[in-house]
Symmetry: C2
Subunit: 430 residues, 2 copies
């Protein structure tokens, strides 16, 4: 265990600032202390401001920043999301030195709220499989997961109190699970993707990282331009009925992950929550397959420019593009139609429950030599466009994170987060 | 009537090149002759290459271009869509001089197919209501419609054989109707929007303009990276059963537009097509309202940067942003849910028909002094994400275009275009 996380969470930090216990500048120094101590090992950053550069900007704008909710605290932005005047290379040598002329809308809104972009966090190549330099903050031999590797690691390691990622398959949830932090994927269509590089239009969602659910709630309010005062943060909502989707219904899963799921299920029942297990079905695996088909078709139709530079692409991405181009349109349309049909099926399954509880990854983070881990645990929910949030806390005997996730109703993200808040603050136990 | 269109359509031009009748360079000169003769009046271009610049590029790449399907012919790109190294200002002084670092994927694919970007076509301010300088090629006192004003006018006037637009409300279909050319809006999610500025993620679609349906079919194949040889163009498919949605079910409509719809309906019946009229319902107007609600909510969450420059925005856009920010989330979610419910209703209505036939605009193009026209005729189909194509040909007594549109099944764009091809080549008559 290497992690030495030092931040109590974004909202908690803002409370200490409001109460005059610590200044924003104190917290900024804490972040840079952590980065300077840990970045050589964690490698979360593709590009970042130095402490001096950050403080120069902070001091220049301090009067204005002090009136904004985020008070000048730092944010990490996945390097697949455009930042004006700051390199955005999408994890690929093809775009080395690329400097966008606009901020993505999510970046703009964080800035308007008084956040400062400390830097760009490492992404896998075009948010697909090829790993960047980031290591898992909990165990440096292991992968942080992909593709939002740096965003997850930076928050999990306490380098910054907030970061932005994106998910097409499992790119927010899996790194959150592996690093033991909170990752949230918004319902599809919920948050603006303007300025984020699209990978697959039927699958892409924006994601957020924080140490606590309340941090996610605050960031979500900022991105939705709704009331983003600390006083307006939604209260916890107790879960009453939960549907468990065991990992084996999705695909390969470790024994210790299924055990963590059982432990939390039992604990929920102890607290009077009705917990039912989803009946055996191959529909969840069908959703996994549909996701794969849709992704292959769409990715190669988005990465048209990059297709011209095959020699600069990793082998897995070349294969995905080749497969996508070789697909019959019928397969793609069949997959889309199956998803429509399965969405109705799942809605019925879910109708008498508040949420689905299921593994966020197949197990602990694999060794980095084995890649960034498998995304199947997220594919069913992602292809349906459902909001999800990871539940960190459970670990295996060696203390490595075993992340679970709570999956909610489409567009009911606020309810989902309020339920996760209840779960994590009222009844969760390691 | 001022139009002096000189191009027989993209595919027809390519056939003359294949048969050695005319060279690509001949056609390029024809395009520039038209532009130089007409641009002062039509004003379709926000930015464009000069004839010399174009020819210099063409000659430099001629060997390669001659192997590609589009042979170096020119395309116009709506100025809301990014072009690498070419100004993209979105119809707003806020982005004057903005030069993107990437081509949008649609631009990249057209280039890969051997098209050359002649320039950027005029868009209304952020693809909303504030008109640019473009006039209607058929009558310079009248609006070309918005927001893809320049893309529609440039093709309608024979300045270029193809152009790209985008539609959030009626931004492709209405200009096509007013200018008397063919506009096609793809099913939502069908074509990559990477590099196009998003306005409303639940509503945005890419659109294409051409003189004939076969031109649209070719461009669609290029953008989908499927077989884009001339020999692979899908054949016409006869319509058998058509459901007519009278304009009055959507909103305000002119007597002459309803008359054009009746004329085509009668003509279809003469050819043995079953034509039924949709029973009175307020569901279509409900869809219009849902579209307005969703658009207001999402636009102000995408145009976050621009919100900071209120003084540089037009009054209608300021109002939209203000309304969107003042909305309750409940109204937005209600609108989304109503659309889901109404989509099922419409699917049932449509189940025994091939397509919907309905006005593409409330009437002829208004005088430019009255704005760019009302978008309501497209809102119901756009909010449902359905593919649509305009049917030019009918005019009022003064010869001004009265565009109708054919609306198809989601993701069945190929069938819709093949039916439109049949309709326009086999039975349409002015």
């Amino acid at each position: 265990m290497n992690s030495t996380a030092t931040l109590p969470g974004l909202v908690e930090m803002l409370r200490t600032i409001a109460q005059g216990e610590r200044s924003a500048e104190d917290w900024i120094h804490t972040c840079f202390d952590q980065i300077e101590a840990r970045e050589d090992q964690v490698g979360a950053w593709q590009y970042r401001l130095s402490r001096d550069e950050y403080l120069a900007y902070y001091h220049e704008h301090q009067a204005l920043l002090s009136t904004r909710v985020l008070k000048g605290l730092p944010v990490g932005i996945k390097d697949i999301i455009d930042t004006k005047g700051m390199p955005t290379a999408m994890g690929s040598t093809i775009h080395q030195g690329r400097i966008p002329v606009d901020d993505a809308t999510c970046v703009e809104l964080i800035k308007q709220a008084g956040g400062i972009v400390l830097g760009k966090t490492v992404t896998t190549e075009f948010a697909y499989f090829k790993a960047g330099k980031t290591t898992n903050p909990v165990d440096s031999e292991r992968t942080p997961g992909g593709s939002s590797s740096g965003s997850a690691a930076a928050v999990a390691d306490g380098m910054v109190p907030m970061s932005i990622g994106s998910q097409t398959a499992a790119s927010v949830i899996r790194p959150a699970a592996y690093c033991g932090t909170i990752g949230y994927v918004a319902s599809r269509g919920e948050l603006s993707l303007r300025g984020g590089q699209p990978l697959a239009q039927s699958l892409d969602s924006l994601g957020l990282y924080g140490a606590k659910v309340e941090d996610i709630q605050l960031l979500r309010a900022i991105l939705l331009r709704t009331d983003s005062t600390l006083e307006a943060l939604p209260q916890a909502i107790p879960l009453q009925r939960v549907l468990v989707c065991p990992g084996r219904l999705v695909g390969e899963v470790s024994v210790e992950m299924e055990h963590a799921l059982s432990l939390l299920s039992a604990r929920l029942e102890d607290h009077g929550v009705v917990v039912d297990v989803m009946a055996d079905t191959d529909n969840i695996r069908r959703l996994v397959h549909c996701h794969e088909q849709i992704m292959a078709w769409e990715v190669c139709r988005n990465l048209a420019y990059e297709s011209r530079h095959q020699e600069l692409l990793s082998q897995p991405l070349q294969t995905l593009l080749t497969n996508g181009l070789a697909m019959e349109r019928k397969e793609y349309i069949d997959a889309l139609n199956q998803v429509t049909e399965l969405a109705l099926w799942l809605k019925q399954q879910l109708s008498s429950y508040d949420a689905i509880l299921t593994p966020a990854a197949p197990g602990i983070a694999p060794l980095s030599t084995q890649g960034t881990g498998s995304p199947h645990m997220s594919r069913p929910w992602q292809v349906l466009g459902l909001p999800t949030v990871t539940l960190p806390g459970y670990t295996n005997k060696q203390g490595l994170p075993l992340g679970l996730q709570l999956v909610g109703y489409q567009r009911e993200d606020d309810v989902l987060l309020a339920q996760a808040k209840w779960l994590l603050t009222s009844i969760y136990q390691k």
